[in-house]
Symmetry: C2
Subunit: 290 residues, 2 copies
């Protein structure tokens, strides 16, 4: 299958390479000068898109997504499929999908979870929005680049699912970290804390699969000096998207708002930039009640 | 075994009945005039405690616990065991344990999770603090009244584990509810939301085992018009205990603090009293961004 792939950064690069390795004919484009194993490079996004049956984009934000849409939609063939794997605001995802549909293109928004490791290993999870026909055409590629794809609804539903999930995740991580720091001060052993909470009503992915306390629970970034993993600034990006969506849809999200403010402070003023998002635990360890 | 049981309310009553049913010789006392199947009633706490090998208390708060301690410790035999199953502040738990130890009594703080249903069915979880010797003597009774007991450390560690767990739980419930309400406003189907989050990094007991959305996930209070279950005012009690502990130990718990304020508002001003703590979802459904 002829695939165009636009946006070959940390995530897009290994995703495109996995498609090429599976035997697809992949033409790539990136603003930066990059090499991707098995991928032919084009001189522009439009050139990568023009003869492709499927175009995949992996871009940093909604503004760039809209600009790329303006460039590639006129170049794409009617009946082709556009899978956007970027994590962007719901409004931008819906706007470019509408624009694509008006040009006879099948559009899927399909943000991922699983990070750079998952992109390289082909174990990403895709949260997809779009018509049944568009999802059906995208599904075989999701199988190559990832291990799970959930069809969440119409255009924008993939982005909505991702930001709702990650808003819960950001809040739960902070709650887990502040609870560990409280337990420390109350003299409760961290292993005991893990044993109780991971098997009780406080359990979560954050506690059970990604425990922020070094040496406790399964191997996680905490055991590697909080090297990401999932960087704090990427959590902040997703939390900001959740608050943007909450504002534009008039939804009350006090916990999401508080988590956004805390990650903002952590990334911008407290040395969190470049650290895993679970490094909230050493942050809380050092603090007294404010 | 001769057991004294003081505090025979909604929780204590079925717990004492289960001990009597298992063949123990149980003498009970409560300020209210109650009947408990198989239990002989005494005229005072001291009378229920004086000849008991093990005394169990199930009381509403730390102030009452301290008063009961003052009454029963002088009455109890040296070498007897006092298991306090109340959920109280860590400071009170440690104070009465110290007082008991000074009188030659083995003390265990053992707050429970599992609610009235778990008390009746004998499926409670105990989070216990105290010496190895004290825990070993209490363990056979935990087996009758519950299905799991975790020895969390020295005196107070049981209370610490419970409030840390329930602080995470309260925060996670609100985050899950506000995320469902946001998903609604973004047009994301609730079943799809559950399918994604319950199998992704946003999973938690709140989402997976006690889903606050009616008709989604396993049977929960949401499917029974938010009848508790775990009442919002009991969650508020535990959140307040967590904040009391955070204040007295100088721990920074911004999410726990925010959750306490939201449950306070919900219980005292928004009709949450008597509803399950997952009724935060209908609360958020009705609200716009504040």
């Amino acid at each position: 299958m002829k695939i165009g792939f636009i946006g070959l950064g940390n995530m897009g690069n290994p995703m495109a390479a996995n498609l090429a390795k599976a035997g697809h004919d992949v033409t790539g484009f990136d603003m930066a000068d990059v090499d991707v194993a098995g991928v032919t490079m084009a001189a522009s996004g439009a050139e990568a898109a023009e003869s492709a049956e499927i175009v995949i984009t992996m871009l940093p934000n909604g503004i760039i997504l809209r600009a790329v849409g303006d460039e590639i939609i006129p170049a794409m063939q009617s009946g082709a499929v556009w899978i956007d794997c970027s994590t962007v605001d719901v409004d931008s995802a819906r706007a470019v999908a509408d624009q694509a549909k008006a040009a006879g293109i099948l559009a899927v928004d399909a943000p991922v979870s699983g990070g750079i490791g998952g992109a390289a290993a082909g174990t990403l999870t895709f949260m997809a929005g779009g018509s049944d026909a568009a999802f059906a055409k995208a599904a075989p590629l999701f199988d190559i680049m990832g291990q799970k794809a959930v069809h969440c609804g119409e255009s924008g539903a993939g982005q909505a699912a991702k930001i709702c999930n990650n808003m819960i995740l950001g809040v739960t991580m902070i709650a887990t970290c502040e609870a560990f720091a409280l337990a420390d001060k109350l003299g409760l052993d961290r292993q005991k804390m893990f044993d109780v909470v991971s098997t009780s009503s406080g359990y979560s992915w954050t506690m059970n699969a990604y425990c922020p306390a070094p040496g406790v629970g399964p191997e996680s970034p905490a055991d590697n000096d909080y090297q990401p993993g999932f960087a704090a600034e990427l959590m902040l990006k997703d939390l900001r998207l959740s608050q943007q969506a909450a504002e534009s849809s008039d939804a009350d999200t006090p916990m999401g708002q508080a988590a956004t403010a805390l990650y903002e402070q952590f990334v911008e003023a407290e040395g969190g930039l470049g650290k895993d998002f679970s490094a909230m635990l050493p942050r809380f360890e050092k603090r007294g009640r404010s």
